[in-house]
């Protein structure tokens, strides 16, 4: 109820930002947070769930993987044969796109804005350009030794 007097403009963009910070802290959006957020944003559970489910970045399940790998599948990377590289990485990690194990979550992304140095991948928030099989193996070794 305390939110009713608050001007609506204060909440502009806030749900995105709040969910992001919850996920950064907890790795996902837990059910308990959803109920809390419904109250503070004056939204029904259905509206809140619909919001979270719409945006690809948010996850409702805990993230058990240590590293998040995102392979760019957009045109410039396609032009630089990311298809072959994707197959290589899938085999190497024994994961399909969208799958995870305790070490890695393998994911796709559609453009990282790094097109001049395609193919690009993002690992734990950092972008790597000019990606190739050898370079990926090197990074993988470093990650496994962390």
């Amino acid at each position: 109820m305390h939110n009713i007097e608050e001007p609506k403009s204060k909440k502009v963009g806030q749900l995105l930002n709040t969910l992001r910070s919850i996920q950064e802290n907890l790795g996902h959006i837990p059910q308990a947070s959803i109920h809390e957020l419904c109250k503070s944003f004056n939204l029904s559970y259905a509206e809140m769930y619909g919001f979270i489910a719409f945006y690809k970045d948010f996850r409702l399940e805990p993230n058990i993987s240590k590293h998040h790998i995102r392979l760019c599948q957009a045109e410039s990377c396609q032009a630089k044969n990311v298809k072959t590289l994707t197959e290589y990485i899938k085999n190497k990690l024994n994961l399909n796109i969208g799958e995870h194990n305790k070490d890695f979550f393998l994911d796709s992304v559609y453009c990282l804005g790094n097109c001049p140095r395609s193919p690009s991948i993002m690992i734990d928030g950092l972008v790597y350009g000019d990606m190739g099989e050898e370079k990926f193996d090197e990074i993988l070794n470093k990650l496994r030794n962390l």
Binding site: G13, L15, L19, D57, S76, A79, P116
Partner: protein, 488 residues
Amino acid sequence: MNVYISLDSTAQSVGSLEIYNKLKAQNKPQLNIKKYSTLGLMWLEPLLELEHNNQRWAFRNVNEKNIDDILQNPQNSKNYLGNIEDQPYLKNQHRVIFRHLGKNDPTNIEDYIRLGGFLALKNSLSQSPQSIIDKIKKADIRGRGGAFFPAYIKWQTVLNESSDTKYVICNADEGDSGSFADRLIIENDPFSLIEAMIIAGIAVGAKEGIIYLRSEYTNAKNILQKAIDVAYKKNYLGKNESYCFDLKLAIGAGAYVCGEETALIESLENKRGLVRPRPPVPAISGLLDKPTLLSNVLSFIDIVRLLEGSRDMHTTPIQLSGACKQCGLFEVSNDITIEELISEFGVTPVDDVKAVQVGGPLGAFIPKEKFYLKLNNDELSKEGFILGHASVVVFDKHINMKDILLNLIDFYIHESCGKCTPCRIGQTRLKEILTDLPNNAQSNLNLLYDLLETMKEASLCALGGLTHLSVLSALKYFSGDFNIGELK
């Protein structure tokens, strides 16, 4: 000796941060290491410049192994380029929007002021809002988001609305693949964007601004937030004696469709990013039903350049990528042809190229026989193509266009917001039909043309409305890759 290196995310993606850290760790008193904006010459990154007796020596593709050699024996290094300003790929550009690249520390406000920053703001404060908008009208500035809509109409509409609350929103949700110009501005020249937003606020009567940035741009987010904090500290943002303008950053969450202006507004209102039917247009009823000036990053920058007096001509910042030897940002006059771009700036033989896609994922695939076309919207649209954000992705002769198109349609399916039926169902049907080719080719194609016509006419936004460009151009010019032979 000054040492300049960029920490732009493309430079970092090929190792510039490691070099910066290594140089810092060496702790040599004779080296003054500065993190500077990138020049956008991305194939040279990590690019390092040494300033010695007022001369700047550039070195390409520096890495942790060759850096010591370069410092010890600069002019004998095989990475030595000479003065970067003399290189044809930079000398032959005409930089207006990107005039600060390579000349500043992105978050250093003194650097920005030294380059003429806040002059446009000062000029704006000494004239009426109407006079600012008249200047924009006279210069015929067009939006850079892809629609080339006259900018002054939006500004005038918002100014004319009588409302106690108005908003200015910058669309920095640069989701179109192949585009990276917005990111370059935000990471390398963030104060230009901040200044533009303040001027827009003053001109249309808005006291609040929001920049909606895509989440994939983590480096851009950190730099922009830092620049906003500095601008508040120096009283350019917030309340001062001349004006009051607050600016905040909202970060998207991986939905491409939020780059569409009404979906972006829905997203800011804490809703799913569903496209709204128009009218009303955002300039009349936008964020929280208030008049809202919503433009893309480069459209705002263009206006700052106009008001500071540095916009001496209309340029096109082309973003070149894909199978090309030299990829990066080439800001040039708008009469450059596709062939000139690829051979002169990209240094790639046109004979090795099969197609280019211009204007992002919704742009057409343009075949080699059309490379005489100039990269401006008037000329491209005569042929049924678009310039969009002026991104050009090059595909070499080994590429199969059906593979590229099917991958693209997966993207459309995934990113359709689902609000309108033609796009939600049409994209999936499109994939089914194309996958089934070359079976029942003629009947499948008739179905496909019907479907694309419906999507074009009945979709709420460009995602469904422009799908026909990529599909029809691929089928028309590269029919060999679809094994459909000669058809009507």
